[in-house]
Every structure is written in C-alpha cells, then in structure tokens.
Amino acid sequence: MSEASLGTAFISLLRRDLMLAYRHRAQMLNPLLFFVIVVSLFPLGLDPDPDLLRTIAPGVIWVAALLAAMLSLDSMFRSDFDDGSLEQLLLTPHPLPLLVLAKIVAHWLISGLPLLVLAPVLGMLLNLGSESLFPLLATLALGTPVLSLIGSIGVALTVGLRGGGVLLSLLILPLFIPVLIFAANAVGNAGAGMDITGQLAFLGSLLALAFALAPLATAAALRISLN
C-alpha cells in the first residue's frame, strides 16, 4: 500500500489554504486595504507636491508593503495551531520543510501577488513616472516572496505565544531591511534613469537564499513551538 505522494500532499495543502482564503474573502482583503490606506496617508500628512511624492514613492510603497506583509503573516499558522491541524501537519510522513513551503507559497499567492496588482495604482497616486512602473513590479515580484519566506520563520517561532503579533514585528522587521533598501533604491534609481540590474540581482539572490533556508528554519521552529 503506497502512501500519498509528496506532490499530492503539496498540492492538496496548497489548494486547501487557497480554498480557506477564498471562503474568507473579506478577511483576505483587509491587509490589501491597509496597504492602500497607509500609502494614501502620506500625501495627506506631508504635502501633495508632485516632486516630493515622486521622491518618496518607492520608500513609501515598500514600507507599506512590509507592514501589510506583517499583518497577513500573523494568520499564517494561527488557525492551524488553534484547531490542531498544525499537529497533523507535523505527523505526516512527508518532509516538513516542503509542506511548510506549500503554506508559504499559498501565503504569497494570497497576500503578495495582489500587491503587484495594486502597486501601479498606488504609483499613480504618488506621481511615480511610467519609467518606474516596471522596476516597481519587478522588485515587488522578487521581494514579496522573500517577505513571506523570512516572515514564516518568525510566525513559526511565535505561533503559540500570547501577544505573538507584536513580538512578531519586533523579530521580523529588522530582517526585512535588506529587501527594503535594495527594492526602494532600485525603484528610485530607475526613476532617475539609472541602471538597476545590480539591485535586482541582489534581490534575486536574497530570494534564492531565503527559498533554500527559510523552509528549513520554519520547520524546525514549528517543531519547537509545538513541543
């Protein structure tokens, strides 16, 4: 009697998370709404001067993306922990890091990918030139998966704790700094007509590194948190 293959398990878990998100559509939209609201606060708080907005746009959009990621990350393992599904996940014969990866991919599809759709609109609100649009999308495409990957480690470490949400931001936000620096800088430089392949290459290698190591760390952290 053969066990369900790893591929089947990976796909079913991914599909389950997407289905759960779909059945909670409203909840899933909240971090995105948050993303838009935070960005739109800046012109109100500063000055709607187009030049100023263009200068700060890359940083503002990226900081808002980090904060939106923090909000959505908190629920990554929370409900699975509460109803015991997480225990069951740990007790399958499949390698835990790969199952964790399925959950991370699901998280990115739910919370990271929509940011890419929204970003051009926000870019317009902040008077970002059309030459910056593609770089913005490229950095978001490379950067937001890193947020999901690194974030999953923090969530796994804090999943069973009271007040885990605040602690999570304290643990994770400093680790997001390299992504912020390179992504915002790439968008800014592109606006000034400079070459940004270096920054994109760096973001790409961050993604590769996080992709290789984060699921392992998350899996280890989950086993510890459920101890």
């Binding site: 690194i150 480690i153 470490l157 804090t158 704790l161 009271r162 007040g163 885990g164 602690l167 304290l170 643990l171 936000l173 400093p174 680790l175 700094i177 390299p178 620096i181 390179f182 800088n185 961050l206 590194l209 190591l213 760390a217 280890a220 952290a221 510890i224 948190s225 101890n227």
Partner: protein, 251 residues
C-alpha cells in the same frame, strides 16, 4: 556525542560548568579590570591627541571596542545557542542567554558613544551613518532575541526557539551590514569621516587593542556569572544544587 572531546563533555554538565564558571569568571574579571586601567591610562593620558579631531577622538577607545564586541558577542551567542540546541547542553544555552544582555549593552554603548562623538563632529547627535545604523539594527536584533526568550514560559523550549532566531539573525547580520554600508555610500558619499581611520598610528592602536581585550574579558566574566545564576535556577530541584545550598546554609 563523539564529536565532542571527553573533557568538554564532562565540563558541559551543569554541575561542573557551575564550578568552572565560578573560577573562570573571577579570573576574567580581574584581568578585565587590569587591562581596563592600563588601556584607559594609555588611551586617555599617554597617547597623542588626534591631529584633526583633538581630544574628542579619544572616545574611540570605548566606541570602537564596543562596536567590535557587539558583533562578536552576537556570533558567540548564536554559536553557543546552536550547540545548546543540537546537543541539548544546558550550560551552552545558558551561556547564550547570558550573552544577550551583555551584547545588547555593548551595542547600546557603541551607539551612545557614537552619538556623543557625533555632536562635535557633525553638529548633531544622530546622522544616518553606516556604523550607527548597523548598530541600531543590531540592537533591535538583540532586543528581539531577549523578547522572544522572555515570552516563552518553558525554558527548554525558549532556549531552542531563540537558538533558531539567533542562527537566522546570524545569516542576516552580514547581509544587513553590507546592505547598510552600500545604502550609506549611495546616499552620503564620502563626506562623513569614519571613526576608525584606515591607517592608525601605533601609539593609538596599542591602547585600542588593550581596551578590546579588556572588553572581551569583561564579557566573559559577566556572561559566565549570569549563566551560573541561570543554571542554578534551572537545576534548583537537582541534588547538586541542594547540596550546594545546604553547604552554604550550614556555614
């Protein structure tokens, strides 16, 4: 266990570590005090003032070793936590936990002295200088480590969870460090004078190194003492602690 030499394995038992740490902590403390006096004397009295910055550059005898230590302690902490997690050695985890507040203190010291030095140099306490920024982020990492440790009730679980965090932090720390350096050169150019000169005169280098050694011994002394306390608390139900406490009471 075969990777660990036998004597080290012996030492790693809480009881033996407690005894060893007591002796080592005292010795390190006295050595640190001696080096501190020598280093401060040479640094503050017996070395020439900087030809550009005058006497205010003397704060580097505190600032630079503190900045070095802030990185060094994090590395030792992560290594020690990892050893404690993998081989389940309580003493090692306790040493990692004891290192965190000391490391955070060195980081805060580096930040504070950097700011004090910045006031006469830059006219303001804070500029987004590469080193200051790195130190600030490092302080966040230390605080995160300590926050996670205090959030988990069971100490065994806490030790293993913080070990993961420290290892993740260690991979990140280099990336963060170089990103910040890169970011800084882009935005500030070479206008900011770095605190440590590329070439440094021997009369300034020697007290600097003596101070660095003094800080290292102080760290060892302090962290060993803290680790001793933690072990004593964690092993309070064990026979050796009861015997120890009994001995002290009867004296």
């Amino acid at each position: 266990m075969s990777i660990i030499p036998n004597w080290l394995y012996q030492l790693s038992s809480p009881k033996n570590f407690y005894r060893f740490a007591g002796i080592a902590s005292n010795w390190c403390g006295w050595i640190a005090l001696f080096l501190l006096v020598v280093g401060l004397y040479y640094g503050l009295v017996n070395s020439p003032p900087d030809y550009q910055q005058g006497d205010s550059a003397r704060i580097m005898y505190i600032h630079v070793p503190a900045a070095w230590m802030s990185m060094f302690v994090y590395m030792v902490m992560a290594g020690s936590a990892a050893v404690g997690m993998i081989w389940r050695i309580k003493a090692s985890s306790a040493f990692a936990n004891a290192s965190a507040p000391v490391g955070a203190m060195f980081t805060a010291l580096a930040l504070a002295t950097g700011m004090l030095w910045g006031k006469p140099m830059w006219g303001t306490y804070w500029v987004w200088d590469a080193r200051l920024t790195s130190e600030l982020i490092l302080l966040f990492l230390y605080l995160g480590y300590m926050a996670l440790q205090s959030a988990i009730d069971d100490r065994d679980t806490a030790a293993r969870a913080t070990a993961i965090l420290a290892l993740v932090g260690m991979v990140n720390i280099t990336i963060i460090h170089y990103s910040v350096e890169w970011w800084n050169t882009l935005h500030q150019g070479a206008t900011v004078t770095k605190l440590d000169k590329p070439s440094i005169h021997l009369s300034m280098l020697i007290p600097l190194l003596v101070m660095a050694m003094a800080f290292k011994f102080y760290y060892l002394s302090n962290a060993l003492r803290r680790a001793r306390c933690e072990l004593l608390e964690r092993e309070r139900d064990k026979l050796w602690v009861r015997e120890l406490v009994g001995e002290n009471n009867s004296e």
